[in-house]
Symmetry: C2
Subunit: 345 residues, 2 copies
DNA sequence: CTGTTAGCGCTTTCAT
DNA sequence: ATGAAAGCGCTAACAG
């Protein structure tokens, strides 16, 4: 529990910051009166108000929010967003949605990364709770979030994003993953496809499991049952999506269409398809830059909406910590741009 | 100066958080001893240490960093990154670099957006300073940063990113903008091009001015002086990059190569080129997803390095606020992928 | 090795 | 309308 203090040094400021008392001294009033002025209280004479404001400006006074928050029971106006991999543009867009929504409520966002290491999740979260963040938004990555049990009672709401929590009752906002792939597969089936492949990794992720489920379900509805032959869900570090595609195309009865489970897989699949097979239909999960310029059909959604919704949820939880957990699904939609409509058998 | 407090409500926690005194009471020691244990001081008997730790666990004690920081002179371990447009993937990559570097020093990053409104910059920054952020990283957007004058003396270092500050002496980290476009243009010239266009908007931005400068300089070196005919630097809300390209191609002597000044322009140019002219050479500034899959040559750089460098600078400033401002340039490099090498006259 | 006192900057009583 | 005192949770400085 005892975290080592930050290793950064401490250069003493050349000039100390002014306090309420300093301003009061200069203005010839008490600290409390200055406080009243700063907080905008009405019970202050206009002239003293002016004198105080002038003194504050002279001394470059800036209220110390730290002290205020401490006085108020250590309730801050910062909310943490804990994320595995900051470099993933998807999470950036989510963070943007969060930040914007929080700002509407006068809240700031602290962004913290676990570098995709499950072990560091707890450490990072504990550090944030020590900072007394007002609430916690997180993409769960550790296999267990039970250590957050009790935070709700202590007044800190937790909302999970993109994946539900494990061993913790908490609100969550996730994508309509299975609906998304199901819609893509159904569209391909309507065009006559039957041999439809699904390429994605890593397999273990909740989102990917859900997307796989939607893929299987849609094929089952169409009477295709032996779907595992077309599934390429590698573990991290295994075959790349591009390799998977080469593999698939080398089959005796190669797929006529491929669905990618995420943007990383899309990249690999498109690379491989451009090399060899231009007539295989393709639909990716996750939209990406210039996908429209190149006519790539995708299952898209609004990552910012994911963030916005999570932020709304967590803000409403600040007022009311009671009640059962809420689970929201963000819809996806198929955007046909050509690649999913070509090469129908 | 008096900001309205956050509008969010305040639900009293069902169970108050334990304090040092609470833990001490349960363990039969004073608060100070608990503090010593929590801070990892050696001068505590192993058995009292155990008793204290057990009590802390029982009460779910979490040190209040707010109080600690206040005691320590209100020096926090959070650094703010103020950014105009969070939805721009470029800044996200920068933020990722910042976060990672700060984490190495035990510092947290607060991300705050000004929504690209110059007027809100000061408001946002003031709020952050009230939170006593340890340092300030910012992409300047307002036309003046003189309001930050004096922050250095008060102990808060400021580092500007992507653009230098105006009316403020501060460290900065920017891209080698003019070198970047110059290198692109020189490569085109080596391939025989002379009629080279530059498409970019909005024109007013520092980065774009610099990129334009590099473009002009490289052409001048090659003896091409009447470059303005090929320049298409629209103001925001003016003609789109795609329109500019159509315009250029309709000229009596259309350009044989086009350089785009940023990723937004690249998108527009590529759209237009795919419609009509597949044989015009193209080089974009800023790399983007799948650019390699589609063989697009670009002037690239590492946005994360921009962030990392800025964070390093600001961390070093925490130890030493004196000395002249430092200005670092992050190099760019031309990545030939085909589009810049085609259509040579 | 452990406890007491004081105070960081602010705001909520309660007086005046 | 203004001020004095107390205390939020914590930790230096000094006892003991």
């Amino acid at each position: 529990m005892p975290e080592a203090p930050p290793a950064v040094g401490l250069a003493a400021p050349a000039q100390p910051r002014a306090t309420l008392a300093d301003v009061g001294r200069l203005a010839g009033v008490s600290a409390k009166t200055v406080s009243r002025v700063v907080l905008g209280s009405s019970s202050v004479t206009p002239e003293t108000r002016d004198r105080v404001l002038r003194a504050a400006r002279t001394l470059r006074f800036r209220p110390n929010h730290l002290a205020r928050d401490l006085r108020y029971g250590s309730v801050t106006n910062t909310v943490a967003f804990v994320i595995g991999d900051l470099t993933n543009p998807f999470y950036f867009a989510v963070a943007a949605g969060i930040e914007r929504e929080l700002a509407r409520h006068g809240l700031l966002m602290i962004l913290a990364s676990t570098d995709d290491e499950p072990e560091s999740e707890k450490r990072v979260v504990e550090a944030l709770l020590q900072q007394r963040v007002r609430a916690l938004l997180m993409v769960p990555i550790a296999s267990d979030q039970s250590y957050l049990e009790g935070e709700r009672q202590l007044g800190t709401p937790v909302v999970c994003i993109d994946r539900p929590a494990t061993n913790l009752i908490a609100d969550s906002v996730v994508l309509a993953n299975s609906d998304g792939t199901a819609e893509a597969v159904r569209a391909l089936i309507r065009l006559g496809h039957r041999r439809i492949a699904f390429v994605c990794s890593p397999a273990a992720l909740f989102t990917h499991q859900e997307r796989l489920r939607g893929y299987r379900q849609a094929l089952r509805e169409a009477g295709v049952t032996d779907t595992t032959r077309w599934e390429r869900l590698e573990e991290a570090g295994g075959a790349s999506a591009a390799d998977s595609v080469r593999d698939l195309l080398a089959m005796a009865d190669p797929p006529t269409a491929i669905v990618a489970g995420n943007n990383r897989a899309s990249s690999g699949v498109l690379h491989a398809l451009r090399e060899s097979a231009d007539d295989v239909a393709f639909i990716g999960f996750d939209d990406f830059e210039l996908a429209d310029a190149y006519g790539i059909s995708v299952v898209a959604y609004d990552p910012a909406e994911l963030g916005r919704t999570a932020a709304q949820l967590v803000v409403s939880r600040m007022d009311d910590l009671t009640g059962p957990p809420r689970h929201v699904e963000i819809p996806t939609r198929l955007i046909p741009r050509g690649s999913g409509e070509r090469g129908a058998p």
